[in-house]
Symmetry: C2
């Protein structure tokens, strides 16, 4: 049997799936940021008339998924699977969105790496001939994450300078066997690494080694170097984690150059008081579905490496004294 | 492109993946049940010398995965992916097991349907030529689930007669491109259905419609009927949900006969005070990896339909007044 694997961790698609459409929905803070004009919809507030932040997040994900589907003109029975996940316990945002969308549903969890993981898996389902079209989508929400992972939002506790601000946003893509658009050409699924970081206010440091490991394996497997990409973008290490990942990679002999940045660095500007930057699986989802997709479509980017990064702890594991395992999943997108 | 889809929701594998090995680890209550002798390892107590039930659950999953890998004689660099999930917030049992196992990791969440979902996805990765061998595994633990989903375990609150007892157990399989063993020949990924059940002490009722929907679609897609299977087994509806699923299917014109049962009915006997029966993703995992695998290997079963069933709520969604969405994922295993 002809394996589509190259090296230890990378697969190269025989018929690279097309990204037929993308759709992003964000909250007001993200709309006011430097990428504000690249999003398809910006909510006026974080609850948008719903009765809870959790219901709002699920509705936001549903809106992103329906938005991506509508842009394709496909009928819903032409879409074979929905792949989705989010940060909430039991991925309820995705589950409840799947209830409304009504498609066969595959729930995934990779913390902030979930968008890249969904793109990798969705591409495998299409290239493996199990689906004609697949919709993928993920979400995060500042207020649902804050009270689940950290402290009551009303408390207004002071945040550490290494802390990241969870993005309120949902992004979705329709992947297809055929059509016009950028193509997902390869994917590198990451290993879970843990160098003992226990500070839940410094998730960038916890994830940086896993992101570096995936980038190193990806370059090795495909015999490429960072110059082969117009953009290498992690999501979401933010400023602290990005600097650490660059340092780890440099010590491993890989100079990442100026094309290596992070979705958690791009989405807010320094006036927005977000400390180290952004996080949340919605962050890389909306930065990719908005800004990066536009630049791939315009031809400004020819080849992009998106490396989703996930901190795989829970409040319970941290309270029990466990360190924070990290993971990085990479996908290559070509115009 | 030659699609491997049949009907609306089912895929039929071109080169059906082989189940090369299986391994199950359970707690003492499961060891004392009617299937006790079919498990590979039985713990003397639910914590097994660890410092918390959560760490114990993760170690149990790790033991199941390492047990399944060891039986194959494969080297770990011949296994391309680990797919795993569990019931805990942020699937920490799977994440921490993945940290120890060290393989490229795909985290999934389907509540109690996670074992069947991992078998379907793992088979797609192999049949799609993305992997030579894949290890899949899931776990649940009575005491971690009880305090996360319901009440402090020390409280000893009275349980409803429709409530299910979460299995302490972890099951794992190694799936392969080639070798000797039962084969996974088809899979039907389910849609999320919700008929408004809000009682978290009656998850069987919440899941029954989705299981019935997946069975109906599966039979329709493949033009089969229940007599084409030696065993149709859901996991885990328990007694209340199984009776409801049978009734829904009968009203839809499908008489399931005597071969339709449920992992949550099989694992405990009536003397074990579990009320409606068992639940937890470990339940269908260990019943399949133990009892069903043995009967497939011995030739007693020629063709089995395993229908994983998941209740896709969270304590937060229920406290906010939401009903409980259900899902069913089916896989066909043939001797």
């Amino acid at each position: 049997m002809n394996l589509k694997r190259v090296g230890n961790q990378t697969v190269v698609f025989a018929n690279p799936p097309v990204i037929l459409s993308s759709y992003s929905v964000v909250g007001p803070k993200e709309g006011q940021g430097p990428l504000g004009k690249t999003f398809d919809a910006v909510w006026q507030d974080n609850i948008n008339g719903n009765t809870s932040w959790e219901i709002a997040e699920s509705k936001m994900l549903e809106a992103a998924i329906q938005g991506a589907i509508e842009q394709t003109k496909l009928k819903s029975d032409e879409i074979d699977y929905m792949l989705a996940g989010d940060l909430l316990n039991q991925i309820i945002s995705a589950n409840f969105a799947a209830r409304s969308v009504g498609l066969p549903f595959i729930g995934i969890y990779g913390a902030c790496s979930t968008m890249a993981l969904s793109m990798a898996l969705g591409s495998m389902l299409i290239d493996g001939q199990f689906a004609r079209n697949v919709v993928v989508g993920v979400s995060s929400h500042h207020d649902t994450a804050e009270r689940q992972y950290r402290l009551p939002t009303e408390q207004g506790g002071q945040r550490a300078m290494s802390a990241q601000w969870t993005v309120t946003g949902a992004g979705s893509l329709v992947l297809a066997q055929s059509g016009t658009g950028p193509r997902i050409t390869a994917a590198t699924i990451g290993r879970v690494l843990d160098y003992g970081e226990k500070d839940v206010n410094n998730m960038g440091a916890a994830m940086a080694p896993a992101v570096a490991d995936t980038i190193l394996n990806h370059m090795h497997d495909l015999n490429r170097n960072p110059k082969d990409y117009d953009l290498i973008v992690s999501g979401d290490l933010a400023n602290v984690g990005l600097a650490l990942a660059k340092e780890v990679l440099k010590k491993s002999g890989l100079d990442m150059g100026n094309e290596f940045t992070d979705c958690g660095v791009l989405i807010y500007d320094s006036s927005q008081d977000v400390h180290a930057g952004a996080s949340g699986c919605g962050c890389s989802a909306v930065v990719f579905a908005g800004n990066i997709m536009k630049k791939l479509t315009s031809g400004e980017y020819k080849r992009v490496l998106l490396v989703g990064s996930g901190a795989l702890h829970s409040p319970t594991s941290s309270l029990q004294g466990e360190s924070i395992p990290g993971v990085g999943h990479a996908v290559v997108i070509e115009a």
